[in-house]
Amino acid sequence: MSLRDSTYKLCNYLRRSIYSVELKNVIDKLNKSNNENINSGHFGYVARHHTLQFLSYLYVNQNYLKMNQLMAPFNLTPLNEKEINIFEKGHNLLLKINKIFKDELFKILPNAASILEVYQKVNVLINSNDIIDLPISYIDEITQQFLTHSSFNVIRNSIDQLPKIKEIPKEQLIMGVDLLLKEINQGDFFEVPETIRKMNHMLPIGHLAENINRVIRALACLKISTQVFNQLIYQAAKNEKLSVLDNSNIFRIVKHINFYLGEVVKLEVQPNRKCNSFELPLSCCYLNIEVRDDYKIKDLFWIANNSFSFGHEIGNVGKYWLRKIDTELNYLIDFNKR
């Protein structure tokens, strides 16, 4: 059993729940365009692009007037109470589990715990404490597995070597992790960003700054695992099948490397019913491809980026930049052990 396995178990439970039917109906309604109402579908379109899971819809709802001004001719109409409640129930589940993750981190490194509050920068008023109804055993299992995350050991060891890590101001740790992830996610995904490369060359092992860096890398991995977890739960709760990229839609593997920042693949695909062309980045998918008779790739991947071109002479084409997700739901595989 791993964090990924226990998350899958919860996903399967959610997919079969009444909640997923309710959520899917609301999301479908908000995303559906029809001829009678020219504004239909706009709400869902705007919300989807915020990639904040359930909170995307609540955020757009809270700011719909401002958005209507900014994004004319979009004319968003607010959610009704029932719809708000459905999104809040889902969001509250993520908050509850994220808080458990945060509390576990707090026990080891209190000044870093808020790094796992992944929605803290989004200011949305949540009205209710309602939560998706589910047996507590699912959450217990996830918590148990989260505790085995390799980052915890890295942090513990670093603190043993350098107890002063506990005194680093919270803001500096948050900034360190954010900067690191920003650097990693804004490049072309196949290169180690210049600043990270320089940092590695400059610092001798055992150096004070190296210990801090190791902690920051471990925290970044914990944050990624939390984000991937949230996304998987969200995709399951809305009863969405993960996109499958396989031999029925991939026509080219542009690049595939395994390096310091994990396993990255760039693919060219022809969208089909298994991977639709409305797929957004920062979500999860399966890659299941037989490259040769003796070489297959079959795993969960994070869509780091994608783009589509439509309808011209050469047909519809999608490009995907994918990062492999490990059993700890981390796509910077072993980055915390470097």
Partner: protein
């Protein structure tokens, strides 16, 4: 697998490669290299068949249409027998031609409607050759084909076929190859499908192994756009110039039959030689007084047989598609690998423009 061979004289080079096996030592070497067993008696069969085949093909350049089909058919059967015996390592159990021309009053109106029936699956030359070329082939014992169905499956004759038989659909579709950036696509122009009532992806279900090797075709305004799957094999057929086509299966009441290209040539040559040999009342007026224009496509078919049938059989021997060309065609590649950089540059310029204006 495709191999391009630059050749000033393809016919000469093809026969050089074939006649390599008219030397017993080279035959023995072939089995050693391929680590295969063989019956010693086959050496004479191979040598004799290939030498006779070569002479028949050489003679075919000197004879008139009166006997040309017979000369080519004899050459072809010898060539099939020589090379396929070489491949199999044992004598093929051939006692008959293995096919029959069905001539009724109605079919005497032209060559296109002629019917040919496949017979003798065990001892017929045709079935034996077919099994050696494609061991997984469908059983076609007793199957009847029209001459036009077979002729329409030969890529070099696609346009002649459409001109000659206004009511019939050709069984091969030309494929255009386009290179964009670093990826290759193939496409089929709707202009090539004027004889097909429905221009939908159903057409592709008639192509052998299409779904295993291509993603679902995409339909644009003028083309079917085709992309190969990651683990794909070449399933196209090629004309003598290396132009790619897809061969559509021949639709028979309950099944679609895919005949390999060399077999199509052999059946057509058999039919024509049979006409020339046994039906003078048909053949003589056809070659001397044909007013329909059908004679032209038959002449072209015979001409292509001389050049391309030996090439097709050489492909079978080598398990490769050998394309003999006079020079390498210059490939047009549209390369846009700096897309990202160009985009960044454009954005930078636009921002600078805005900043300067402000």
């Amino acid at each position: 697998m495709i191999k391009k061979i630059i050749s000033e004289n393809p016919i000469f080079d093809i026969w050089q490669m074939i006649l390599h096996y008219s030397y017993p030592n080279n035959i023995i070497k072939y089995y050693k290299q391929n680590k295969r067993e063989y019956e010693i008696d086959i050496i004479d069969i191979v040598v004799n068949s290939l030498l006779q085949a070569n002479e028949f093909f050489q003679v075919s350049n000197e004879v008139s249409l009166n006997i040309l089909p017979m000369v080519l058919y004899y050459g072809a059967t010898n060539l099939f027998n020589g090379l396929l015996t070489l491949i199999s390592g044992k004598e093929l159990p051939i006692k008959t031609h293995g096919l029959k021309l069905i001539m009724t009053e109605n079919e005497k109106k032209g060559i296109g409607p002629l019917k040919i029936q496949i017979l003798n699956p065990n001892n017929g030359a045709l079935s034996n050759f077919l099994n050696k070329i494609d061991p997984n082939t469908q059983n076609i014992d007793g199957q009847v084909f029209s001459f036009a169905e077979l002729l329409g499956s030969i890529p070099s004759l696609k346009y002649d076929f459409e001109n000659c038989y206004e009511e019939l659909k050709p069984n091969c579709i030309p494929v255009e190859k386009v290179k964009i950036n670093d990826s290759d696509i193939e496409r089929i122009s709707f202009n090539e499908l004027t004889r097909f009532e429905n221009k939908n992806i159903e057409i592709f279900r008639n192509i052998k192994n299409f779904e295993d090797n291509y993603l679902e075709p995409q339909i644009t305004n003028n083309y079917f756009v085709l992309r190969k799957k990651i683990k794909s094999k070449e399933i196209g057929i090629f004309d003598e110039f290396g132009k790619k086509y897809f061969q559509l299966g021949i639709n028979k009441s309950k099944r679609i039959i895919h005949l390999p290209q060399p077999i199509l040539f052999l059946i057509c040559l058999y039919s024509l030689s049979n006409l020339a040999r046994y039906y003078p009342k048909f053949w003589n007026p056809f070659i001397n007084n044909d007013s329909t224009g059908e004679r032209q496509i038959i002449e072209k078919f015979l001409h292509i047989s001389k050049r391309y049938l030996p090439n097709l059989l050489l492909n079978v021997l080598n398990n490769k598609i050998l394309i003999f060309i006079r020079s390498f065609e210059e490939e047009i590649i549209i390369k846009r690998n700096d897309e990202e950089k160009e985009l960044k540059e454009l954005i930078r310029k636009e921002i600078n423009k805005i900043l300067k204006i402000k």
